[in-house]
Amino acid sequence: MECCGPGYSSPADAVKAPQEKLLYTIAIYTGTGIQKPDYLATVDVDPDSSTYSQVIHRLEMPGIGDELHHMGWNACSSCFEDTSMARKYLLLPGVRSNNIHIIDTATDPRAPRLHKVVDGNEIKSKTNLSGPHTVHCLGSEIIISMLGNAKGEAPGGYLYLNKDFEILGRWENSMGDIKFGYDFWYQPRHNVMVSSEWAAPNTFMPGFDLEEVGHLKYGREIHFWDFEKKVPIETMYLGEDGLLPLEVKFHHDPDSTHGFCGAALSSNVIHWWKDNSEKWQWEKIIDVENEPHPEWPIPVPGVMSAILVSMDDKYLYLNNWLHGDMRQYDISDPHNPVLTGQVWMGGLLGKAPEVNGVKVAGGPQMFQLSLDGKRLYVTTSLFSTWDNQFYPEIREQGGIMIMIDCDPVSGGMTINPDFIVDFGQEPNGPSRCHEARYPGGDCTSDIWL
């Protein structure tokens, strides 16, 4: 079929895409003490290039204090049959400022440029929403989970933008009884969206008070939506197994009903699926045990802040930000995951204070897998205020990005010895990198209709 719009005809087609040569990651100065704007860094990931493993371009945002965090594309494989669309713009929300930066990555992929800013104050006044997080495109339109109202109170809702990045209003018709927002993912063939819960911006932005979990200021539920009606229809109470249910991912296979959620504080992976009687079910499939620490009165939780499913749906990757390990599980049978790989980088347990000659401040945090499943890029900063609590040395050292070689056939992970990007050496001082994406699409963006 010679069409085509952006992306790939299927996940299997995406796996066969050319190897990525550029990678974008956001880097922050918000909360670091350096009075400079956050920026989008272009990293050279072409092993044949003379600037391999280096930041080759920095696009500063217009203002300071945004706290760039997650990103999303204007279009993905859900527009594959729409030749009028292209994967040209990367959306960079500022969690604190509420501004949504629209970045043109297509005119010069090595040197992205600012196309437009959707003003944070305009978003607040038109939609009563703030605290942007996850960006997904819906065909030619865009929805962004917003974690609070204009005053930073939960549950927030979903900002709806058209393809020209004009504010259409709120996407959802109702938030039902949902208490908090965070991440979401949808599977159109099953008319379902799943959303998860962090906390109100006013709760998580200033930092993490553990006691507030017990006061129900943090989430412990996931929600199933009627995607076409845009209303939540079923809630799963995960309880102590699901404290801070953050990232949610469906299988990439658009026919599958299986999906996964990483509960950060419980450090569990929750698996959901639709059973033979068309009912949604959930179970805990991975439980990372807390680890003793010589100086802590209580064992250290893993803090599983992110999960990722490989494009072939065979492997699930997770991090333990406080322990310091990245793990790979074979989820060919999603009810019975098998640990197939593990590496250590930073963390509080002292297992890998240095990687490739660079001292690690922080632990494995965000990660992005190549479409072929062979290269996993991992960064170390979670969120400025939370970094400052758990890893205060990150102020002087900054974040790093490493690459893990993954075996997509037999399983296994090894830290690549030739790749490291040290954001402690940035020209304006130590910055912190977080989410990463590739120009050609990645393992956390594309959805198939």
Binding site: G152, M205, P206, E211
Partner: protein
């Protein structure tokens, strides 16, 4: 009403500011380089430490009671109600962040909406 703000970690520089405006707006207008984020008192980025005087920061929702007792004020919503002395920037944040597992809050040190009264 005008008050004098002294910034102790900037060579004790002094500014006259309007008590009706937030300290962030007043000081930024005078070209003081200050971190900030949400501008509604919820995100803690602009926290500074008050060492002398009083402010009205009833609109802030970012600080717990321990942070308030340690002198922290949220500049984007705080207004002076007397002459004040503050420390600004991350140099003033020595007590702002703590590891919540190693240094738990007592019930009266939580945020105002969930704090228990301090027992005498």
């Amino acid at each position: 009403m005008a008050y004098t703000v002294t910034i102790s970690n900037r060579d004790n520089v002094r500014y006259q500011v309007d008590g009706k405006r937030s300290l962030l707006d007043s000081l930024r207008d005078r070209a003081v380089d200050l971190p900030y984020g949400c501008k509604y008192g919820g995100c803690i980025t602009c926290a500074a430490k008050l060492t002398v005087g009083e402010v009205d920061q009833r609109r802030q929702v970012a600080l717990n009671n321990r942070q308030i007792n340690d002198g922290y004020v949220i500049l984007c919503v705080a207004r002076p109600t007397s002459d004040i002395t503050i420390e600004i920037g991350v140099e003033s944040h020595d007590k702002l962040y703590r590891n919540p597992f190693l240094d738990p809050l007592k019930p009266y040190e939580l945020k105002a909406d969930i704090a228990a009264p301090k027992e005498a």
